[in-house]
């Protein structure tokens, strides 16, 4: 069977293979750029400074400068510097990043006041968690009300529709002024970034519930309260769960902004700090950790979802 049939699933074997390629290809490109010298490698890594006064071993110099100094030394019959082609400091090779996954956790912070990586990660997870939970506790019920009753839809949605265009980071200074400089303003930014979208998304999902189910309920004698709690809520639950998963992904994108507010902390602080020390292997490792963490949580939630809603065919 062809690999490109419109709207037809691939055979199971090619399916797995293609899915692996989804990760394999970017990694392959990265490896090529890192390990094959003639693809990129715009810099030279000095192995022997020779007679050049400002060269040091392991220093990165761009090729042009390096060759100029080499020629100069040759012309003067002084000791010739040697070096090997290298990528710039901001593109570490895969094996360096893989090592950093481990060493980043074991490297002691440079100053005693600074956090270990696992502490930074934990702080980030807490910010996301609380921001998202507080938003959901208020946002989901409001969304369901707005989706069920036109009254609440008219009451909430115009304002929320306006508010969601205000960028959450814009409230940073305000959040610090009101909530101090520690975790609270960061949680507030996640909240602002999530809440308004959440109400609208949940309201929409609620409106998409098959009206025939509501009519069936009415002819079975369901009153207003029952309609809400015995039909609307259970009826939208699988879709609501899927919405929450998507929204949680959005919340992660607000994390970086949120953590720059007040005292920087969490994984963002770790990343900026490591970049300042030019430990780009650690920077890459930390960025990937966010990705891995997000994907793991999402896969976990998907797995739980399949168990929670056995009656839902094709829940992904």
């Amino acid at each position: 069977m062809s690999l490109f049939s419109v709207n037809k699933p691939l055979e199971p074997r090619s399916r797995t293979l293609v899915a692996l390629m989804s990760f394999g290809l970017p990694i392959l490109i990265w490896c090529m750029v890192s390990y094959v010298p003639f693809i990129w490698h715009p810099d030279m890594k000095v192995t022997d400074p020779g007679s050049v006064s400002y060269f040091r071993s392991d220093m990165l110099v761009d090729k042009e400068t390096f060759y100029k100094e080499q020629e100069k030394a040759q012309a003067n019959n002084a000791a010739v510097p040697t070096g090997e082609p290298a990528n710039p400091v901001y593109l570490p090779a895969p094996h360096e990043v893989v090592t950093a996954f481990y060493t980043a956790f074991t490297t002691e912070p440079k100053r005693r006041s600074e956090a270990w990586l696992h502490e930074s990660l934990w702080s980030s997870i807490q910010v996301i968690f609380w921001g998202f939970v507080i938003s959901s506790i208020i946002g989901i019920p409001l969304g369901i009300l707005a989706g069920t009753y036109d009254f609440f839809s008219r009451l909430f949605e115009p304002f929320i529709e306006f508010f969601r265009y205000l960028p959450a980071p814009a409230f940073g200074a305000l959040a610090v002024a009101v909530l101090g400089i520690y975790q609270a303003p960061k949680i507030a930014i996640i909240f602002i970034g999530t809440f308004f979208q959440q109400v609208l998304v949940v309201a929409n999902t609620t409106r998409k519930l098959d009206p025939a189910l509501l009519e069936a309920g009415q002819t079975l004698g369901a009153g207003n309260r029952s309609m809400l709690f015995r039909i609307v809520v259970p009826g939208i639950l699988p879709d609501l769960y899927r919405d929450i998963r998507i929204l949680l992904g959005w919340a992660w994108t607000y994390l970086i902004v949120a953590e720059l507010i007040g005292t920087s902390s969490g994984i963002t602080w770790f990343i900026t700090q490591q970049a300042r020390y030019k430990n780009f292997d650690n920077v890459f490792a930390a960025i990937m950790m966010i990705g891995i963490l997000g994907l793991t949580i999402d896969l976990l939630l998907a797995w739980i979802g399949r168990r929670l809603f056995p009656y839902q065919k094709g829940t992904k």
Partner: protein, 302 residues
């Protein structure tokens, strides 16, 4: 349909006439008085139903048939209380119908079982709404599941059932509330012919054994004549009663009657009512010319 000496559909055998006499003596379960429904559309006011009068007697089986757009779905939705009439009244046992309620059970064409509930819990839904306690409701639901022969599927979810099974559960769910009238809106319309025939037989069985009046919408002539005591024929634009037909086919019905003279006569009459011969002036037709050469291998299909 060509004429091969069909009797007049109004000719009833003495037994059938006697039965209709007695039927009309029964108390009236549902009465529709001067029912009119108008909608406001972009083209102004549209009359969907106009001045409908109908008396449905206790344990009678009434079918409604009519061309598309005759407002038969609107009619049943008003009887259910899901829509409000613009004028006129619907009375159930003498009391005006204003909103949906469990004493008027409804079965929809689309499958409206709650997908998150098992068969048993779907049937328990209405019972619990009526204030019955859970254990009692469960026992009652089990009985209904046995009655409709789905004992093995008590804990299945709707998506695991076939279309016919789903509609059986939907009927049981409505009947569990002990409704005075069962409103059915093309309930078998989405089923294949074989399943549909089976479901019709099941429905007759249920109707015979349970104290319930049935109001059944269909667009299938055979189904209407086979099931109904009386058939309400509507016409479109506006939806008005064209005729209320007493089906001369003797009860109890069986599939062999599909070819009986009374059956065919009634069917022919309704066919003529719904598709009058003069309606050929439509511009809705194909514009085909011959696209096969005359000297082709197969020059003509005849």
């Amino acid at each position: 349909m060509s004429d091969f000496n069909l009797p007049d559909y109004k000719q009833q055998s003495p037994e059938v006439r006697d039965r209709f006499e007695r039927l009309k003596q029964r108390p009236v379960t549902m009465e529709v008085k001067g029912l009119t429904k108008t909608f406001n559309s972009h083209h102004g006011e549209v009359t969907a139903l106009k001045n409908i009068d109908l008396k449905i007697h206790k344990r009678e089986f009434v079918c409604v048939i009519g061309p598309s757009g005759c407002g038969k779905s609107t009619l049943i939705r008003i009887l259910a209380g899901l829509e409000q009439a613009s004028a006129g009244q619907v009375l159930l046992d003498g009391e005006a119908v204003t909103r949906p309620g469990p004493e008027r059970g409804m079965v929809f064409q689309g499958y409206t079982l709650f997908p998150w509930l098992t068969v048993k819990r779907n049937i328990m839904f209405g019972l619990i709404e009526s204030g019955m306690n859970k254990n009692h409701a469960e026992a009652e639901a089990r009985e209904w599941i046995e009655l409709i022969g789905l004992g093995k599927f008590e804990n299945s979810y709707p998506h695991q059932l076939s279309g016919g099974m789903k509609q059986r559960v939907a009927i049981a769910r409505a009947l569990a509330n002990r409704p005075k009238i069962l409103l059915m809106d093309e309930p078998f319309g989405a089923l294949d012919a074989q399943t549909r025939a089976k479901m019709q037989a099941y429905l007759m069985e249920i109707w015979k054994n349970i104290d319930v009046t049935v109001f059944f919408i269909t667009h299938d002539l055979d189904e209407a004549v086979y099931l109904a005591d009386r058939i309400l024929v509507l016409k479109a634009n506006p939806g008005e009663v064209q005729e209320l037909i007493e089906v001369p086919v003797p009860q109890p019905r069986n599939p062999e009657q599909f070819l009986s003279p009374e059956f065919l006569a009634t069917k022919k009459h309704i066919e003529e009512l719904i598709h009058p011969p003069s309606e050929e002036s439509d511009d809705d037709h194909l514009n085909l010319v011959r696209m096969v050469p005359v000297n082709d291998d197969v020059g003509s299909v005849f």
